[in-house]
Structures are given as C-alpha cells and as structure tokens.
C-alpha cells in the first residue's frame, strides 16, 4: 500500500534526522515502530503522512509517487493520531469534531452523520456525542482523536505513543480497539515506548536507531536477541527476561506473561508435589 524508497530527511543546519530508510507497509499490517527518543520515529510517520517531504528518496502510495500529494490528500487514506490529541480539538462537541474531516471531503449530511455515528460507536463514545471535547477524560480524548481519524475511513491508522499517560484500564481498552480495527482490515502503525505492548499486540516491528532502520521483521524475532535490544535502547518485557533466566530449568523463552505463568505453574506444581510426597 505504502512504500518508502531510500528516504532521507534533514533540517538545514542539523545532521540528518533520517538516512536512507526503505520500508513497505502492506494492508492488514499491525506494525510497531520503536526506538530511542530522537531516533526518527515521529519524523518517519510525518513523512508517510506528507507533513514533511523527504530531502532524498521517494514515497509511493498505491504504487504512485506521493510527491504531488499534500497532507490533506494523504489524510483521505491515512489517519494520524498525534501525541497530544487535546491540542488538535477545536470544535464544540465530540460529534462535530469527528464530522470535521468528512465535511471537508464534500459528503452529504446523511453520509457524514453515518460516519460520525459509526466512528463514535467503534471508540465507545456514542454517549458522549454532545460533550465538549476539552472536558473529556484523558482516555476519552485519545479515543475521540481516533474516532476523528476513523470517520475518514483510512486504510492506515498511525498513532504516536497513544498509551503514554493513560492508565492501565484505558490502555487495555485502546489496544483491544486497535486489534479489532486491524482484524477488520485496517493497517495499524503504532509508535510506542511500551515494550510489553510491542511484544503483545503487533505482528511486526521496525526499530529506528539514529535515523536509520535498524530492524524490520517479526516481533518474536526482535525479542530473541537481548544484545541487540540494549544496543537500540530497548528493554526486554519482564516475562522474557525471567524466562530467559530460567532456561536451564527447561523454561521456554517467551514474551507472554500468561504463557510463562502456565509453564511455571506446571513446573512448580511438580515441585510442590515432590515436596508433599517426601513429607509423607
């Protein structure tokens, strides 16, 4: 669906922010983009969105060179949820906020009403259609920003650290929503610092390091190499670290806390059983 070919980007006076990045995003992808602060993650997504133009290289959208597309053109296909969504709201009600995008595309009032209804319902905000956006909770604001993007029926949804500052309940809710959207056919690109999330939900990960693409592959592959992770400023999910530390006892390496606990219950259950039998 979208392809970056040897893309570089730099501000005039500074070193390059991105150098020679090539990647492909396919429909149906659920992709995490991870890496240190300042490694180029946000710049990468801004180039995809045509908010910035590459200094070198090209962006292809559905096989077409995207050079001539503006951010407004790309917004028809790609939804973008910013790091601080409350700074993007400017209308009086949640429903109006969501309607803004489709209104710009010249849909009929009835069509827009449908889009808004569906988007609010998908994000669990139907009951807040008339609420003032700034008065919503942090999690609701985040979901409203997603609803605004969904109303445009995007093929790809980009979210820049949507879970930072969200409480645990909201985080779970958000991830469930993204999984559902992905299952319904939308490609998801998630920038995140949360390694537990990166290990649990996306299928594919891209690691940015110093403006270059350091890794692009399956999430399971990414977490199989501890040395590389620390080189890129990433940490291992707790389950992975523990399972790796217990490998000599026959524990299988896993990033899933659930899997690990099932496995350990079996192993420890045997131990306590052995305890009990010697006691007898």
């Amino acid at each position: 669906m979208l392809e970056l070919k040897n893309v570089s980007f730099g501000y005039k006076s500074q070193l390059s922010v991105l150098s020679n990045v090539s990647l492909r995003i396919n429909s149906g992808d659920f992709l995490a983009v991870i890496g240190r602060n300042g490694s180029g993650k946000t710049t990468l997504t801004r180039i995809i969105m045509a908010l910035k133009k590459p200094s070198k290289g090209e962006v292809l959208f559905d096989g077409q060179n995207a050079k001539k597309y503006s951010a407004a053109d790309m917004a028809r296909h790609i939804g973008y949820v910013f790091q601080n969504p409350d700074r993007q709201f400017f209308r009086e009600t949640a429903a109006q906020e969501v309607a803004y995008g489709p209104e710009q595309l010249g849909y009929t009032t009835a069509q827009i009403a449908d889009f808004v209804k569906d988007a609010l319902s998908a994000t669990g905000l139907s009951h807040l259609a008339d609420a003032y956006p700034q008065a919503l909770s942090k999690g609701e604001k985040q979901r409203l920003a997603i609803a605004s993007a969904l109303a445009m029926q995007p093929k790809l949804l980009i979210l820049d650290e949507p879970t930072s500052g969200q409480d645990a309940l909201e985080k779970q809710r958000l991830m469930k929503l993204l999984v559902k959207l992905n299952q319904d056919g939308m490609a998801i690109l998630l920038i995140t610092h949360d390694m537990d999330l990166a290990a649990a939900y996306p299928q594919r990960a891209i690691v940015m390091n110093n403006g270059t693409k350091a890794f692009d592959g399956k999430v399971s592959e990414l977490f199989s190499n501890a040395h590389q992770l620390s080189k890129w400023g990433l940490t291992e999910p707790a389950a992975l670290k523990i399972s790796r530390g217990l490998i000599s006892f026959g524990v299988e390496q896993t990033t899933s806390a659930n899997e690990l606990s099932h496995h350990l219950i079996k192993l420890l259950g045997r131990t306590t059983h052995a305890d009990a039998s010697t006691a007898n």
Partner: protein, 287 residues
C-alpha cells in the same frame, strides 16, 4: 516529623465537584512514595497541593491541612515552599522558560540569589545527573520530548530540594531513559535521603525503588502501604488490578496456584533467583 502530611484534606476546583475527598496520609522523610490510581483519581491535584499551587494558584475551596516539611502548604508562599519541594509537572513543557539548556537549568538558582560560580557548578552537576552533559548551549526548542523532560528534572535537582514531587516524569521517555531516570531518583533517595513522591502508571518501572504505594480513586485514599501490600490488595479485591505490573502479576498468580510463597520481588532478577531456588529444590527432591 513526616516530609508530607495530609489530614482530612478536602479540595474542589472552582465550580467543580470535590477532587480530593477527606484524604489523610503521611509520607515519611526519606521515603520513595508512588501515587497510583486511574485517571481522574486526584493524583495530580494532590501533587499540586503539596507544591501549594492548589489552592494558591488554582483557587477553589478546601478544608483540612497539608503540611510540607512542617509548613502549612496553603499559607506558605509557593516561592518559600519551593525551597523544600521541587516539582516536575505532568505538562512539563509549560515549565520550560529559557532559551538554552544551561539557562533553563540555572533559572531556579538565579532566583535564589546564588553566586555565578555556585550556579555553574550546580547546573553542571544536575545536567550530568540527567544525562544532558554536553547539551549546555543547545536551544531548548531543539530538544526531543524526552530530553526536555530530563531538562526539567535537572532544573529541579539543581535547586537541591529535600522533597521531589514528580507527576508522570517518564511519560515521554524511551525505555532506557525511563530506567535511567528511576535509577537516578532511587539513588537520590538512598544516597541523599531525598523524599520522592512520584505519580506513575507503569508500576514495573518504580518497583525496584519504591517503598510506599498510595492507591487513590475518585479522590479517596483507597489503600496505603508497602508496594507488596498495596499490589496484593489490588489483586485480591480486583481493584484497579489491570495496573499490577507483569512481574508482580506472575508472582501473585504462581503463589495462588502453587501455594508457594515467595519473598518480595522487585525486579526480574529477584524473580529468577526465587523461582530457581524452588525449582532446584524440586529437582533435588524428585531425584
């Protein structure tokens, strides 16, 4: 005398319902306390009450008391409180006022009337502590979100407060930066006895360093105690249990299903050591 003490503290922002509801709690000097709870629980408001901004800046109505280092927070000028308490706000960007990194880190000190050489020394140390040495001349606007957040911490550290209040100080940091920041706070706490009060959602990040958890919900103090006590409560009562970090979730699940009780787990290395002990014993017994 505790570092921070709240007694029957109630607070409402102007024209709003109560945000803090009859809170009594005491934070001992030298403790590393974490405020946790769902969004809207009142965590940020409590931090602002400790800094005096609630009610001195925000207005609103209150009853009860907040004592900070023995001083009543609502009656002590914020500038005076600031000499005991350094605060890192949730919306940290609003705290940045200067052009360059070193000017920013020096800003608080300049207002305390220290000599230039003292200021330079403290700024240098503070920037080094947060990993921004070498960035002195950089423009603040050219920093990434994570770097800005660490710069705010440096500005606060430079003033050498006895109490540090940090509202989600790692929200824009990468995993490495988060680990380093909490390691730094842990060191400041252990080596210099600085009292830390931090709001954090990612409890796994603070578990290695914290000795006190306070669970707030709907403005009420739901549970206070050691991290072990509060996490076990959350599990048992299924109260905000989603926030229990995977590391501790594993401990509680294993204890529940196998009947083994482990000693405290604060990091993955503790878990590996404890589980290894049990498995070794098992291998030995069944052999």
């Amino acid at each position: 005398m505790p570092a921070i003490a709240l007694e029957n503290f109630n607070y409402a922002y102007p024209n709003c319902d109560k945000t803090l509801d009859n809170i009594s709690l005491s934070i001992a000097k030298g403790s590393f306390t974490v405020l946790l709870g769902p969004s809207g629980a009142g965590k940020t408001t409590l931090c602002l009450a400790v800094a005096g901004a609630v009610p001195q800046y925000f207005g609103g109505s209150l009853s009860g008391t907040v004592l900070v280092d023995g001083k009543p927070a609502k009656d002590t000028p914020m500038s005076e409180l600031a000499q005991s308490v350094g605060i890192v706000l949730q919306d940290y960007e609003t705290q940045l006022v200067a052009m360059t990194v070193e000017e920013e880190a020096a800003f608080g000190l300049e207002n305390l009337g220290l000599s230039r050489s003292q200021i330079n020394l403290r700024v240098k140390e503070a920037l080094k502590k947060v990993g921004l040495a070498g960035f002195e001349k950089r423009e603040v606007t050219a920093l990434s979100g994570g770097q800005k957040q660490r710069l705010v911490v440096a500005g606060v550290l430079a003033a050498a407060p006895k109490i540090l209040v940090l509202d989600e100080p790692a929200s824009a940091l990468d995993p490495e930066g988060t680990t380093e920041l909490y390691q730094l706070l842990g060191d400041l706490n252990k080596q210099y006895g600085i009292t830390i009060l931090a709001v954090e959602h990612q409890l796994g990040d603070v578990l290695p360093h914290a000795d006190n958890f306070i669970l707030l919900e709907n403005g009420k103090n739901i549970q206070t105690g050691s991290p072990e006590q509060v996490l076990s409560y959350m599990r048992k009562e299924q109260h905000f249990a989603e926030a229990i970090p995977p590391l501790y979730q594993l401990k509680l699940t294993l204890e529940e299903k196998t009947g083994i009780s482990f000693s405290s787990w604060r990091c993955e290395c503790d878990a590996i050591a404890e589980i290894s002990k049990c498995l070794q014993k098992g291998v030995y017994l069944s052999a």
